[in-house]
Each structure stands twice: as C-alpha cells, then as structure tokens.
C-alpha cells in the first residue's frame, strides 16, 4: 500500500483563521505540526487524527472534513448506524425514542446501534480477543490508537486484534438481512455516525476502497444539531405521528461498550483499559519493552473518558457518560431467542467476514530508510542540537529544538530558522553556515 492511500486524514486547517500561534504544534502528541509561512501544516505521515490540535486551537482554525447529509438520499434504503454516544449527547428531557424517531424523520429507513455488533459476536460465540498473533491483545476499536501503533510502535502490530469493530459487524449483519429481504445490494446505503476525527478519517479511508461495508459518515456534532431541531418540532405533535419506530435492540452491556472499560469487561483473564493519548503512549512504551506484566487484553482509547471525549461530541464528556450509563439500564440484559436465531442464520457469512485486514506498518520516525545514512544524519542531529538554545520556544515553526535539528539534518530546514540564535549571535550565522553548509536550505 503506498503512503498516499494509506490514511485519509480528516483534519483540515483553515488558512484564513490560522494565526500560526503554535498551540496545536506544541500539543500534538506525534509532533506532526509545523508552522510554515505563519500557518499550521499537518504532516500527513505523522498525523494520527487524534483531534488534540482542534481541541487546543484558540482561533477555531482546525476543522474536520464533513460529508453532505443529503448523500444519504442517493440510496433508496438508508441505514443509520449510531453509537450509543449519540444518546449521551442529549439531556434527559429528550427520550431515546424521540431521538431514534427523529432519525427516521430525517430520512433514514433503518436505524441500528453500532455496538449491537458486540451482541452479534456474543451470539456467534466469538471471543473478541481471538484475532491477534501476540499477547497482550490490543483492541482495534480506536482508529487513532491503531494509527499511533502503525507510526510509532510497529513492533506491536502483531498484537492488534484483527476482529472487525462492532459497528462494522452490525453493518455486515444489516446488509445480509436486507439482501435476504430482497433489497438490491446497490440500493443499500449504510451511514455511520462518528464522534471523532479518527473515525471520520477511517470511514473516508474505507470509502476509497471498493465494496466498502459503509457508504458514508456523518459527523456527530452536525447530526446533533439537526436532530435537536427535529426533536423539538415533532415533540409537539407526537400524537399525529403516523408510524412509530421502536428503539433498536441492544443489550445493556453493549450500550456501555464505548465507555472506558466497556470492551475490556467482555474479555476473560487480565485486562486493562487506558484512556487519553499520553497515557496510551506511556503504556505502549512498556508493552514494547515487554514490561507490561501479565496483561492479556488492552483496551486503549485516544480520548479522555473514551469516546465520550471525542472531539465531535458536543456535550460535556462526564455528563454524556452519565447519560449513557443511565440509559443502558433501560435495555435488556439478554438477547431474545428469535433474534439470536436470526443472527445464527447468517452465521456462515458473518464468520467469513469477521476478520478485518491486517494493519500495515507505517513507521515515520526514522531519519532515513537506510540505517547507514540514518546514522550519519543522527550524528548531525546531535551536533546541531548542541548549538540550538534548547528552550523549545517554537518560533522557528518546529515543536522543539530537537525536531528542528532533525529537519536541518534531513535537509528540510535551515539553522537560520532559529530566532534565538539570530538575536544572540547575528554575526555567527556565516560561520554556522560554513559548518552546516551542506544542510542549509532556504525555506
């Protein structure tokens, strides 16, 4: 797979609004951002779509790509796959039934919970951790974490669970079910609601491939706005509603799946659930060094408090978590016989498709692909770093003196970028240029 088609990045920088203030650059956990000509640029090779930059931008210059809502009407059968997170975005006064029915009012013909896929797995008797070559098995649910592993921890790729996510399994099931009812495969459009940049990017990456399970994505914040308007309008004349749609089936425990500990609770043996990208990074270092003790399964989530902390989730993440917990208690704890029989009737197809593609390595930290040249560059990096002030002010447009050294050694930046050196020793530059002449380039 070539590097261009590798990831679709959903984060975009609005050049009008960006003031090159360096907030995003300094907080980016993978040092993917540079300020060039006064504007933030995201290096697609290093970005993992975690959304931290968008969260810290004081000028609202970072946004997330969005597909048009009307795309759903290209398909006669329009399936919404929603995360329980969607319900968490609404205050108690809006009932789950109201929200679900508002989705139908918007034009969807079918609505399913993404986490219902966890119920399907339970019926199929599949242990959800069974699809990795090494332990501890790492959950593949959070796409930002998977990208982080692909970029920075490639030695842990054999630990990543290849089992499809619950939403994908739900999509497989829905498609099979509708086709059995006689609906033409091409008439079915399955849309997934994403609460974060990484999931939007993941859907757009899938979409670029043939025979994608999911035909498009809807951003959670936008959908919440549309739903809220619709709910308000319809609640008045609820009695006049011609068709009433019941809440789609999901068990209590699956409803809790996307909260921290929701996935690992399903696993046997020793499990650990870790949320927030820095915590995740810290733990991946330990796993990489074989210092993770006897952990069998790792649930890793890039966002603080798990998916409720997603950048597209408008409501306070603690309140959203609370609503999901409360709402879960209204759902049954077991799957009715008729439903499990129906799921089992699709068993062969589901099991055949249950495993996703292997995640390729996409290591981006090396100074050169050739270790010998990388070594020469590394020696240069260390020498240049000694000259730089080491205060990581970011005025050069790089997140740290170390990253500037690396870019100079690779021929991508000039030592003249350093404003501190320029002020301190204006005359020394020609001497420095003599030393580092071969690596100095004007940007």
């Amino acid at each position: 797979m070539d590097s261009r088609s590798f990831f679709h990045h959903a984060l975009t920088v609005d050049r009008e609004k960006c003031r090159g203030c360096t907030h995003c650059m300094k907080k980016c956990p993978t040092q993917a951002i540079r300020i060039i000509n006064g504007k933030a640029h995201v290096d697609p090779k290093r970005c993992i779509d975690c959304g931290v930059c968008m969260d810290v931008c004081p000028h609202k210059a970072i946004g997330i790509e969005q597909e048009r809502f009307n795309q759903i009407f290209t398909y006669p059968r329009r399936v919404a796959i929603i995360p329980s997170l969607l319900i968490g975005q609404f205050e108690e006064e809006y009932s789950e039934e109201q929200i679900i029915n508002a989705l139908y009012d918007l034009g969807f013909t079918d609505v399913y919970y993404g986490e219902f896929g966890a119920d399907i797995l339970r019926v199929l008797g599949k242990s959800t951790s069974g699809y990795a070559d090494e332990t501890p098995v790492i959950s593949s649910y959070c796409p930002a974490v998977i990208r982080l592993i692909q970029l920075s921890y490639p030695s842990l790729l054999p630990n990543v669970n290849l089992l499809r996510t619950p939403a994908q399994i739900t999509a497989l099931y829905v498609r099979e079910k509708l086709e059995r009812e006689g609906v033409d495969s091409e008439d079915i459009g399955i849309f997934y609601v994403s609460g974060c940049a990484a999931k939007v990017g993941q859907i757009l990456t899938w979409k670029s491939k043939k025979n994608s399970l999911i035909q498009g994505g809807l951003n959670l914040d936008t959908l919440c706005n549309i739903l809220l308007e619709s709910v308000k309008k319809h609640s008045v004349n609820d009695k006049e509603r011609r068709t009433y749609h019941p809440v789609p089936f999901i068990t209590e425990q699956s409803f809790l799946w996307s909260l921290v500990g929701g996935e690992s609770r399903e696993m046997s043996h020793r499990t650990l659930a870790i949320d927030e990208i820095h915590n995740v990074t810290e733990f991946l270092e330990l796993v990489e060094d074989d210092r993770h003790e006897e952990i069998d399964f790792l649930e890793l989530r890039s966002c603080d408090t798990g998916c409720t902390g997603g950048i597209l989730a408008p409501r306070n993440r603690f309140l959203a978590t609370q609503r999901i917990r409360y709402q879960a208690t209204k759902h049954p704890s077991s799957i009715p016989r008729e439903l499990s029989d129906e799921i089992l009737s699709f068993k062969d197809t589901l099991i055949r498709e249950i495993k996703g593609e292997r995640f390729p390595q996409h290591h981006a930290l090396q100074l050169d692909t050739d270790p010998q040249r990388a070594l020469v560059k590394l020696e240069k990096v260390n020498e240049i770093e000694k000259i730089l002030p080491g205060i990581d002010c970011g005025l050069c447009g790089y997140p740290s003196c170390r990253t500037l050294s690396e870019e100079i050694a690779q021929g991508n930046a000039s030592i003249r970028s350093c404003c501190v050196l320029k002020m301190k020793h204006p005359k020394q530059f020609s001497r420095l240029e003599k030393i580092w002449g071969d690596v100095i380039q004007k940007r």
Binding site: S152, P154, S155, E285, E288, D289, D290, R291, Q361, H363, L365, Q366, L367, D368, T369, D370, P371, Q372, A374, L375, L378, E379, V381, N382, E406
Partner: protein, 140 residues
C-alpha cells in the same frame, strides 16, 4: 556513533530510562522492530542488574549500520558463580529488590537469549563487564 550513560545503584524509579533513550535512537535509525525489541529487552535486564545488584555503573552503546554493541560495566561486587547466575530462575536478589518487582532470576538468561554474542567478565569482589553484540538484519 557512541553513546554513554551512567546508572545509579538502588535508583529503582529511574531503572529503564537508559533503555528508553537508546530505543528512541534505534527507532530513528530504521532498525527492524524485531531487532529493536530484543536489544531493548536485553539492555533493560542489564540496566536493572546494575540498579539491583551493583554499586553503580555505566552503559556504553556503539552504533553502526549493521551492528549494535553494548558494554555494561559496574563497579562490583561481581558475580561469584556465573554458571548459577545464568540459570533461569536463579536469583541472589534481596527481599527489598524482590518487593520492587525485580529479581525473578531471568536477567542474564534473557540477555543471553536476545543477544548474538555475549561476553561476561566478572569475579567475586570485582567489577562486572557485560559485552553484548547484536547483528542487524539488512534492509530494515
């Protein structure tokens, strides 16, 4: 390229910091992940050994494109029975060290398993010098 670090005895909270620093360097050199893993596992064991068993020491790392050499030296007290020390599960660690979660007796055997060439120079009441060589796969 040559890297040099010192390791303090009994400083369990910092044990592993040299391994982490060297791991970052190895990643930048595009060394195959499997090689990085075995180097770091062996190095980490040796680093913990200095902390848990010695009076302090140094870690030297010599990098070339096809080979990594690590020299781990301490100031004593040395290993009196090296054959026993190399046995899996054999440990001379004190209760204090074991309580910290170290001292399972896997250190030296893990180092041997992961390195390509291993030389240990030691005796009772003398410094210990461990020299490990890792040959790298080509075309990482």
């Amino acid at each position: 390229m040559h890297l040099n670090y010192s390791v303090k005895a009994r400083d369990f909270t910092s044990a592993g910091s040299v391994s982490s620093a060297i791991k970052k360097v190895l990643k930048q050199l595009n060394i195959p992940p499997a090689d990085i893993k075995r180097i770091i596992v062996a190095l980490y064991e040796a680093e913990v050994n200095i902390v848990a068993h010695s009076y302090g020491g140094t870690i030297e790392c010599e990098l070339s494109h096809d080979r990594i050499e690590l020299t781990i030296s301490d100031e004593g007290p040395g290993i009196s029975d090296l054959t026993m020390a190399m046995t899996e599960g054999y440990s001379t660690a004190t209760e204090e060290v074991r309580e910290m979660g170290f001292g399972a007796g896997m250190g030296l055997s893990n180092i041997k398993k992961n390195s390509d060439v291993l030389a240990i120079d030691t005796a009772a009441d003398s410094p210990t010098i461990i020299h490990m060589t890792f040959n790298l796969k080509q075309g990482g």
